[in-house]
Amino acid sequence: MIEIESVRLAYGDRTVLYNISLSLTERRVGIIGANGSGKSSFARLLNGLVLPSSGAVRVDGLNTRAKGKEVRRKVGFVFQNPDNQIVFPTVAEDLAFGMKNLGLPKDEIARKTDAILARYDMTDLRDHPAHLLSGGQKQLLAISGVLVMDPAYLVLDEPTTLLDLRNTRRVAAALDALDQTVILVTHDLDLLVAFDRVLVFDEGRIVADETPTKALAFYREHMA
């Protein structure tokens, strides 16, 4: 469970999140809102990439301020632009990066690399240069690079924004099949239809916290 307790977040004089308190217990949580509404900052709080100016964020009881490293092991994060997330020149090398950081032995890294490549039909791309992958393949690689670290939670910040419809569906299907708790920030409302809970952000506040049907209707009515 992720608990957010009276969290306020400010960058200098600019407050981006105001007094947010909630618990995330559902397996699929969607986050929507206009650009600049604070949803990406909120997502970054969940794995300790950003620390609250006041209040606390706890992941399975671990405070992100005191236990940042442990929290990041539990909460994987996928960014909007996979080009900024893939840090090694080839597919297999990039997949190994996170596992090496966890201190996994070489044979386990090789086994998990093979398994994830097979899972996403990318075995032929094992030694392919990352910069030559298609947009969809890059995003699947970015997601795979996080999944091989076995996080309990996966936070994704607009992972389909740069993708075409076909690749968006591919990524959506990949997310749908995950056992992990998924917290998805997106502008693509169709992705959230089958989710358990959707939060609507506006100017640093949560203005709706509902089932997808109600939250999406609220968003279309008030924010569009």
Partner: protein, 200 residues
Amino acid sequence: MLDLYRPGASPLHRLSPGPKLLAMMLCGTALFLVESLPLVAAALILTLGLYRLAGLPLRLAAAQLRPLAVILVIFFALQYWLSGPLLAAFVVTRLAALILLASLVTLTTRASDMIDTITAALALLRPLGVNPAKVGLAISLALRFIPVLGQITAEVREAQKTRGLERSVIATALPVAIRTLKMADDISDAIEARGYDPRA
């Protein structure tokens, strides 16, 4: 090294990067000590033989020389003019052998294996304050993001071209610098999110 590696199972592919890098350094030094055209020509032929041993086609060897063809031609012309055809052939043959040898190492070695080896070697410098993991990550980031920076530059130049600013260096350099700095922030976040510990 950017995307040179060609997967394979040859003896050269299986050889760990340390001996390959050492052999490359020794052979490179030896090539500079040799003053005979037949010997450097033999070294070039031997290097091409190693390409075949690695299961790499000779056209791939030619492709390694192509980007430097202009330099090789200029060197040849200068040496021909200054010292005659024999020395010109000697200089260009030696340079070609060196380029092919270095390329052979990168063609048969994964970047990550190369970086691991360099990182392990740098551990000797730890008492001097060198952090081998940081150096290794810096090398891999450079290899990964050189093509990305090229792509960003091409995009910005295209955008400026539509505004008639293709000749303005500032109109290209400034947006590229801003995008690069923003990208650097995101990459830093991404590395942190994937459990990288700079103190390790």
